[in-house]
């Protein structure tokens, strides 16, 4: 289980914010692998999984965005019925609580990852140490991700 980091950006809920954020990523040649937007009462948090995470984080910060970097779990799901069930069952058996989750698909319709945010990443990793699930591996991911 390698480390996978997610970028979170605070944004007021108004037109043009996502445009400004994604422009920074585009200008730096950062590829977005997954995106998740949650909003509430006038503001939102936009989350990205990108290929050049550290670079994207630094650039966004430089440009004055309110950014945070945190580690998440990336669990491979079989892209067929019951794929998510399998993952959810294992997490529940190990009593890992999901705070937030979203999906990204690598190589169209072949491999899907469930991105899972948890309260305590180290604890979750420990709990999931010996389960049968396939987790994200940096080397494999980078190679395939690039195409």
């Amino acid at each position: 289980m390698d480390k996978l980091k997610q970028i979170s950006i605070f944004s007021e809920n108004k037109p043009g914010r996502l445009e400004k954020i994604t422009k920074v990523l585009a200008d730096e040649g950062v590829n977005i692998l997954a995106i998740n937007i949650a909003s509430s009462n006038g503001f939102g948090v936009i989350k990205f999984i990108v290929d050049k995470c550290e670079l994207a984080y630094q650039k966004l910060k430089q440009k004055g965005f309110t950014v945070s970097l945190n580690e998440v779990l990336a669990i491979e799901m079989v892209d067929k019925p019951g794929g998510l069930y399998e993952v959810a069952r294992t997490l529940s058996q190990k009593k890992v609580n999901i705070e937030n989750a979203y999906v990204f698909i690598l190589e169209s319709r072949k491999r899907a990852f469930l991105i899972v945010e948890v309260q305590d990443i180290e604890k979750a990793k420990k709990l999931l140490q010996y389960v049968k699930l396939k987790f994200y591996r940096e080397a494999e991911f980078k190679k395939k991700g690039k195409k």
Partner: protein
Amino acid sequence: MFWQKEIETIGRKALEELQLKRLKQTVQRAYKNIPFYSDKFSKLNIKPKDINSLKDIKKLPFTTRENLRENYPFGLLAVEREQVVRLHTSSGTTGKPKAIFFTKKDINQAAELIARCLIMTGIKKDDVLQNMMTYGLFTGALIMHYGAEKVGVLVIPAGPGHTKRQLALMQDFKTTTLHLTPSYALYLADVMSNEGLDPKRDFFLRRAYLGAEPYSEETRKKIEKFFSIDVFNSYGLSEMNGPGVAFECMEKNGMHLWEDNFIIEIINPETGKEVAEGEKGELVLTTLCREAMPILRYRTRDITMIIPGKCKCGRTHRRISRIIGRTDDMFIVRGVNIFPQQIEQVLMGVKGVAQNYQIILESYDQMTVRVEISRDLFDGRIEHLMNLQNEITEKLRSEILVKPKVELLEPGTLPVSEGKATRVIDKRTL
């Protein structure tokens, strides 16, 4: 019609003689019984005997709202604690309110002044007054209540809110007179329209007393037209008894300020010097009849001016114009006095927000507080931000008694504020 014709129409010379006599007594009592004033007199090197004419009032020290707070709770009391029968408070900027005490005689005197005001507007014993101000620590409702009972009208102590019940009371008991804030009057008008009620056909209203919030002549006209009533402007502040300090007569051209009870000065707030008559400035009041808490030269922070000339109604007590503004940054929402510093203090005690903030006043009922979140404490979790938003809303509500809308902003969104005034954006049109 007059409540106390003799004193209300007293000649200026006799009035000034009465004022001087009462001023001397007040100064003597303040000096003798209140250490705060005796200390101030010593520092200024003056004695009560130095007050020999009304002009000598300029020798006396000012009293500010900070002085009232510093002397909270009992510091400015001029009588024995046993003689006090009523406490009222006025909101303060640091959580500490100002304590205002009344003896039995003070309550009676405040009620007498209200009685003068009400009779001046043509009220009679068979009128029904529905009092929609807040009953409680604020002076607004209770002082009016006592004065109206003195006159002998039927008082309905409805308090604010519960609009449908208000309307039912107004219909069932044939209310003729309302005492309320201008914003609530406008709201009441909206509700009546929505319910398909016609103020002229379905009610018995004849007049309303509007106070506690600033409002314009246009708003008065609008309210008068909608309800088909006379609207009278009312001025008061807790430090000076509450309502009834100054009130409009049937001429509706400025508010008669009861000069046998208060000495009026209009000063330049920067220099402290008196301005010429008819020029605008800060209203400074000295109590002349108060037992429990005589106050010398109180800086009201309200901007007004003396309306020159005699009033057709025959009263000789001079008139002040409606309040034009404030010398400080206090603002009023839902009839509650709020200072930006109160908001600032709450925000300072909340983890996760930066120091910069902005207050938007959309109406007399609604305010928005905009805060920037702290860059360093952002952890990417929307739940934490939602909790933060709720925490700020709740803490502000318990501090200022009004529930604001709270907006969370990205750091650097708000202009860097240099003065306090730029913190408050007042979008309200009077």
